[in-house]
Symmetry: C2
Subunit: 348 residues, 2 copies
Amino acid sequence: MDIRTSYKNNNYTISVANDILENKLKTWTEQYEDVFYLIDENVYALYKDTKLKNIHSPIVVTGGESFKYASPLMNTIEKLLELGIKRNSLIVVIGGGATGDAGGMIASLVLRGVDYIHIPTTLLAHDSAIGGKTAINSLHGKNLIGSFYRPKAVIYDLDFLYSLSNDEKLSGFGEVFKHALLLSEIEVESLMKVTKDSIEIKDLTEFIISGIKLKMDIVTKDEHESGSRKFLNLGHTLGHAIEYQYKIPHGQAVMLGILFSLYLSNEIYQQDFDLVKYYNFMAHHGYPVQLLQNMNEDDMIKLMQQDKKNHQGDLITFILFSDTNTLTLTDIKKSDLYDYLRRIKETL
Amino acid sequence: MDIRTSYKNNNYTISVANDILENKLKTWTEQYEDVFYLIDENVYALYKDTKLKNIHSPIVVTGGESFKYASPLMNTIEKLLELGIKRNSLIVVIGGGATGDAGGMIASLVLRGVDYIHIPTTLLAHDSAIGGKTAINSLHGKNLIGSFYRPKAVIYDLDFLYSLSNDEKLSGFGEVFKHALLLSEIEVESLMKVTKDSIEIKDLTEFIISGIKLKMDIVTKDEHESGSRKFLNLGHTLGHAIEYQYKIPHGQAVMLGILFSLYLSNEIYQQDFDLVKYYNFMAHHGYPVQLLQNMNEDDMIKLMQQDKKNHQGDLITFILFSDTNTLTLTDIKKSDLYDYLRRIKETL
Ligand SMILES: NC(=O)c1ccc[n+]([C@@H]2O[C@H](COP(=O)([O-])OP(=O)(O)OC[C@H]3O[C@@H](n4cnc5c(N)ncnc54)[C@H](O)[C@@H]3O)[C@@H](O)[C@H]2O)c1
Ligand SMILES: NC(=O)c1ccc[n+]([C@@H]2O[C@H](COP(=O)([O-])OP(=O)(O)OC[C@H]3O[C@@H](n4cnc5c(N)ncnc54)[C@H](O)[C@@H]3O)[C@@H](O)[C@H]2O)c1
């Protein structure tokens, strides 16, 4: 499946399917005199004798999130310059969302921008594959330093996903679930049916594709996040606080955050999301739902207040369903939030 | 004088005049809740009790070129985040071309881009005030890491220029001279007449303005330097080699490079630039023209070959006048270049 972006210019194609890497990549690398590969060390270790065997002398970068810091970023830029990268060279970034974020930023900065292609290798990276955001982390928080810079293409070869750890799979599935829920209740019902017993990569293709399409629709309308792009942060307000406090993978924390958003939508907007059904689904697959029972209200509120995006004075902003298909930014007072956090424990 | 850019979008105004800082700046800072000032330490030391006296708790950054490196860049970004910069804050960058280049890059990266204004304080910075290029230096060369990012406004208060050292004034004047020459022979004649005895800042206003306008015309047509923007590098091929070898200020080296380009234009395209007149003008003002007599041909060629922009195999590219008002990229063979470098010594 090929999905084409619809920006005013600098459009690109996201190809999603099994076993597409070699052919698709070739059509790109043939067009450039010099190609430089940046590959996550864990991915390279797993695939260097199979899917990546034709890639010679790549720059193997530190794995996952540890790459998203100033000094590995700058070292990699210097390395590319040392190897003689030119304005008309191509960078191919192979790895998860973290490698993609830092790799994209590197491509945007070296020689004031060279072409790059992203080859996502995680389930969560279906999210970062679209949107054009690049970033590294600051001492003061995640993703605070970066740019908007689009790849020339995204080649999402789903073969890579079979080697993900269960933790990573659950994390990525959290975002797939979020996109399904943002799309429609029918979509999320259908996703839950398919994954009722277990989450199998092979069953997720259509949901990955519809998730990418949904995100594309939103970000092409609002690249710089002034309006509707914010809705993509469904579940992130409490999610980030849980992620930070309990050091669990991003998408797993978002999953718990989504549950809280559904609870709030029921309470504030009289929706009738079947919380028990969602709770059981998450528990069955091993999401750490018990944290919603164990969390300390004060700690959570303090962390949510530190998240500059989501708070103004005494108000904390949540993304809620005000109607079945309508999302709304809703500001909740600290004191009310305290009650909601306490009462969801009794409800679950 | 206000000059408005004419890009398709994100246009901005460059205001050039004496004593405009306070008023112009106020109209901008009033529009933002938070304003952060980045000021070159040398500029701040000179003006903190006068023109900059109303600026409270600025971030004073290391002076000149030493700011254009990864670690001061990243430290300043962290500092801004520590101080609580938001997406809707404004950064005001006050300093020469170096402060502007790194400050613009900082603005482009913090929170994926916040608004910024540049207040150039050197003569050379009339050049960097337009064009939207930001950059820091790499271990492997100048300006190799950066982005394209436009300020919201440039406020060029010419009062600042009176405190420049003679060396800096001569360097900045080199670029003013280049722009005049690129504009027309009449323009450069007129500039040379006005500065016949000495180069006085007060006499340069109209030439600074026409230089900015010329550069604007060129860069709006060709922001990413695929075509005509290259002509702005007149004098830079040999200039960079001289700058590197003899560690003289950029604009002074460019001035010598321009003389060589005029010589080549005479030799190759039968132009009749009066070399002796230009040589005497430069010598009179203290440009180190004797370097053109002392330089070693082999050293110069080796350095020009290291400059990736200007060479392909055995050919080195120069910007020459093929006709009075026509510029041409001209590739010269190494062996021919050797002869030209040797022969200009006899001619001068
Ligand atoms: N730019 C965006 O729009 C956007 C959107 C969502 C997330 N993100 C970012 O993405 C990151 C999270 O994404 P992620 O979970 O893909 O992170 P990741 O890149 O850190 O990958 C997670 C772990 O899986 C390993 N891994 C990668 N591919 C593998 C494979 N095929 N088999 C086995 N192991 C593999 C990695 O080495 C790493 O240890 C965060 O930094 C987040 O900020 C960005
Ligand atoms: N982005 C662009 O398009 C562009 C174009 C041309 C040059 N540049 C860059 O600009 C830099 C050179 O510009 P520059 O000469 O302005 O450099 P600069 O900023 O290094 O200033 C030169 C020196 O003058 C001092 N100074 C600044 N203002 C002063 C004042 N009013 N009085 C006294 N001293 C003052 C500085 O502290 C510094 O020591 C280079 O890094 C070059 O790469 C960029």
